[in-house]
Symmetry: C2
Subunit: 254 residues, 2 copies
Amino acid sequence: MQQRTNELRALVESYLAELALTPELGTLEPAVRHALGGKRIRPVLCLATGDAIGARVENLLPAAAAVELVHSFSLVHDDLPALDDDRERRGTTSVWAQYGEATAILAGDALLAEAIRLALIYPTAAVARELIHATLAMIGGQQMDLEGGAPLDQLHALKTGALLSASVMCGLWAADVPLSEHAPWRAFAGELGLLFQIVDDVLDGDGYALEVGEDGARRLAEEAAERAHARLADIDADTSVLDEIVGELAVRTA
Amino acid sequence: MQQRTNELRALVESYLAELALTPELGTLEPAVRHALGGKRIRPVLCLATGDAIGARVENLLPAAAAVELVHSFSLVHDDLPALDDDRERRGTTSVWAQYGEATAILAGDALLAEAIRLALIYPTAAVARELIHATLAMIGGQQMDLEGGAPLDQLHALKTGALLSASVMCGLWAADVPLSEHAPWRAFAGELGLLFQIVDDVLDGDGYALEVGEDGARRLAEEAAERAHARLADIDADTSVLDEIVGELAVRTA
């Protein structure tokens, strides 16, 4: 099982490594590629969703990459001096620290636009629609964070949960699963987003961890994981790899 | 004729004024709306294209607004201190000067994402595809400008021409004109983009105006306008309003 997750991650890595950027982006390419590191949680979720229903995962790679590029776009802009002012990201320099603010702003824009281009490779516009709604939620969440004072669960649902959920839903749309079968998947995706954001808080020592303590937050994460497993059990598909991913997300330490 | 252009512009203005933003954007709304001023050249072109082929222009409003929002997105990010450092825009404060850099970065992101959302209102993904390709060209052009040393015609084709052309092409896609009828329109859109960028240079005193002098640039603009009229004459549609817009763009002073 872990083996299948690793296979899916390897597919994502090689797709991203070989991804031809739009030629007009020209000298933005190094900055865009610099931004594309990470654990690939979202694209693997997208592929694992397709895998569960027997879709050909290769066909889901553009959707999976699109979700990852939206995630990268948000990090590149969030790291900017005017926002979080982070010079480091994933053990190396952030894009602005490496390439300057102007190029980082444009590289973030390029990542978002490339993500949409990839989501629009499908005949259906539904993949792109799902992704753009999550993106808008994320941008709104970032503004909410900037202003301060918002309820944490609402803030994190926008900043983190929306794109996590979209990872699953984009996999369904890309695999042409009809809307009539989406409901249990959307319920699962919602629990998964919540699980992810609670564990994020535990790891960052903020949000839920501040509100209910680290042990309390860990318990909330376990409960969300149980609900996610229960939602998966409602779905008529081989969800074993997704169950495993849920288990890993619940105990992740980075 | 001028009356029809004014009617189309009024339609755009009221659509934009009443446009409901994605609720999750929350307090970004004033900054996003602040960015939405302008002469509406692009959305009027989009509607006039639909008008020429007898489409119901109301159905083209989301596409027209999408093009305008991409234009606004680019201005909001270009005005930032790290890029052009402009505190003024259209006789008032630029978004960052009014709302701060962080909110301006997010408002630009939101404008791009909202533009895509609007382009995705159509059953076909083609409107969004056309728009995202122009957006990628524009972002690449901005990076090229940042680096300096690029040939001016190439630079301006990316920074200005691509979105002008997309204004026409998005109108065609939104009106469901089959691809087999696009060729003469695309030829027209290309000449129009070139015309627009030459006149931009005359007004800004750079680019073509520096290269061939103001009078020389004005002559190039007239030639591009003549070619644009000739391309319109090739098209089996009532292009009288578009002919008028070409005439206005060739002699515009702002």
